[in-house]
């Protein structure tokens, strides 16, 4: 019997039809996520990492292969999966409260729903902004609303599609802390897609390196960081160097950044 928040990605292939024939976006992708695991996928744009995420979310169908969540085959969007997009995608006409409530499961008891929204507002630190419209919030706060909305559905699996790419460096670090805190508490199986190597190392228990044309998995690197996840530790640096080498080989010019 499969664990309900376990994810198995099996032989996923995705072709896009092109005028000049088909484009292989993903080729035989296999990843298994244990229940409650945090895995980062890192790769340059065009390596198909976002496509993979969309397939897991049930938004796109693969050409071949299957995704199992808790042993069940993904055949479309489901409430088991919560996705956080790169854009916050808040409804501009809804307040913080209502945007978060938008993520509540269908047919949920009204009072219970209100309680959950209240708790989530506290969780993401937006107390006092319940009635604010998205246009009155900063980019980081908007992101927090989006996170709370995703959590409102109590997903078993959380998919993060370059969620912090559009934020400034400081807000980004804050949000990464936040995600780590939430993940640590709720133990949701989480799959992060990013092109930020530091982010991948900082958040993931494993880093999956992908390369493009066609999108394949290059390497999987287990990450073991000291308790405080310090970004300046030697371990962090050595992972960074390892991944960097994995992508760019011994290209001198590139390596000089480190």
């Amino acid at each position: 019997m499969a664990v309900e928040n376990e994810v198995n990605i099996r032989h996923i292939r995705q072709d896009f039809p092109m005028p000049s024939g088909k484009l292989e976006v993903l080729k035989d992708i296999n990843i298994d996520l244990k229940g409650g695991e945090f895995v980062s996928i890192v790769g340059e744009s065009g390596c198909g990492k976002s496509t993979l995420l969309r397939i897991i979310a049930g938004l796109d169908r693969p050409t071949d292969g299957e995704v199992l969540i808790g042993g069940e085959r993904v055949a479309g969007v489901s409430s088991k999966v919560g996705i956080l997009f790169q854009e916050s995608r808040l409804l501009p006409w809804y307040s913080t409260e209502r945007n978060i409530a938008y993520g509540l499961p269908k047919g949920m008891d009204k009072k219970e729903g209100r309680e959950r929204v209240k708790t989530l507002i506290e969780t993401v630190g937006l107390k006092g902004f319940e009635k604010a419209l998205p246009s009155q919030l900063s980019g980081g706060m908007q992101k927090r609303v989006a996170i709370a909305r995703t959590l409102a559905g109590r997903p078993k699996v959380l998919l993060l599609d370059e969620p912090f790419a559009a934020l400034d460096a400081f807000t980004k670090m804050n949000m990464q802390e936040e995600i780590l805190r939430i993940w640590g508490r709720e133990k949701i199986t989480t799959l992060l897609v990013t092109h930020d190597i530091d982010e991948a190392i900082y958040l993931g228990e494993r880093v999956v390196m992908m390369s493009p044309k066609p999108g394949v998995i290059k390497r999987v690197i287990p990450i073991e960081l000291p308790e405080d996840h310090s970004r300046t530790s030697d371990e962090f640096d050595s992972y960074r160097r390892e991944i960097f080498k994995g992508f760019f080989g011994s290209d001198k010019r590139m390596s000089e950044f480190f």
Binding site: L59, V77, F85, L91, P92, W93, Y102, G103
Partner: protein, 260 residues
């Protein structure tokens, strides 16, 4: 904040100036008429127009004309514009139906409503119905086209979000499509109301025994230039007031839309 306040002051000054500008024109007009700068048989002086207004208002006939025109506009406008929103919504969400009707819509749309007016009179009689139909026809297109465009412009990302959250079609319609289309609908409504006013006046000039259009046309027959101006100014004021009302409603309904 300071910059905003400065801009606000500038904005206020300009608003006052825009009213002053109109007053200045009226003043020049009055002085010019008194000094014989222009022919007052063709261009009545503001004071003559005011006198004519007092007469028409005092006898109650102006109110009667306004009421008659207003009623025609409102019935025609509300049904035409309402239908425009509804059909716009239906066609833009049902793509096959939209394709099917596209040519039909394409050939009906360019027909000037007033070219159809004689036919409407033939079909619906010379009474209220033909006028209301022509106004409804005129009000339909701007709202229809704007609604369709609004639905088309709805944020695909938000629609996908609604899909990811497993919202039903109906739910998606009310939580995403309708609100994002509202600013477009209002743009259509504002275009339609000015067209409807234009339509009613022309229809009344052609075939009516009451209404503002009739008043203008009748005054021309009687060579009462001042009364013609009363009719024209009445339309201007009502048109302006209705547009302000619509803008006010829009700012309330589309509260998240700051640049109304």
């Amino acid at each position: 904040m300071n910059k905003w306040q400065q801009m606000s002051v500038k904005y206020k000054v300009l608003s006052v100036c825009s009213v002053l500008l109109v007053l200045l024109i009226v003043l020049y007009w009055q002085v010019g008429a008194e000094r014989g700068w222009f022919n007052t048989i063709l261009l009545s002086s503001p004071s003559d127009i005011y006198k004519s207004f007092q007469n028409l208002w005092g006898s109650g006939s102006l109110q009667k004309h306004i009421l008659v025109s207003f009623k025609r506009v409102m019935i025609g406008y509300l049904s035409g514009a309402g239908l425009g929103v509804l059909v716009g919504f239906i066609l833009s969400t049902m793509h096959s139906l939209d394709r099917l009707l596209s040519f039909l819509m394409g050939i009906i749309r360019p027909i000037p409503a007033l070219a159809l007016f004689p036919l409407f009179i033939l079909w619906f009689g010379i009474g209220e119905a033909s006028k209301i139909v022509v106004i409804a026809f005129m009000s339909f297109w701007p709202t229809f086209l704007n609604t369709e465009e609004g639905v088309r412009q709805a944020d695909k990302n938000l629609l996908e979000l609604a899909d990811a959250l497993q919202k039903s079609r109906i739910n998606k319609m009310f939580t995403v499509l309708l609100p994002s289309t509202l600013p477009y609908i209002f743009a259509g409504l504002r275009l339609a109301i000015s067209r409807a006013w234009g339509g009613v006046v022309v229809a009344e000039m052609l075939a009516a025994s009451s209404g503002i259009g009739f008043l203008i046309e009748y005054s021309r027959d009687m060579s009462q230039t001042a009364s013609m101006f009363v009719g024209v100014i009445t339309i201007a004021i009502i048109g302006c007031a209705v547009d302000m009302l619509l803008r006010f409603i829009q700012s309330r309904v589309c509260y998240w839309h700051t640049e109304v």
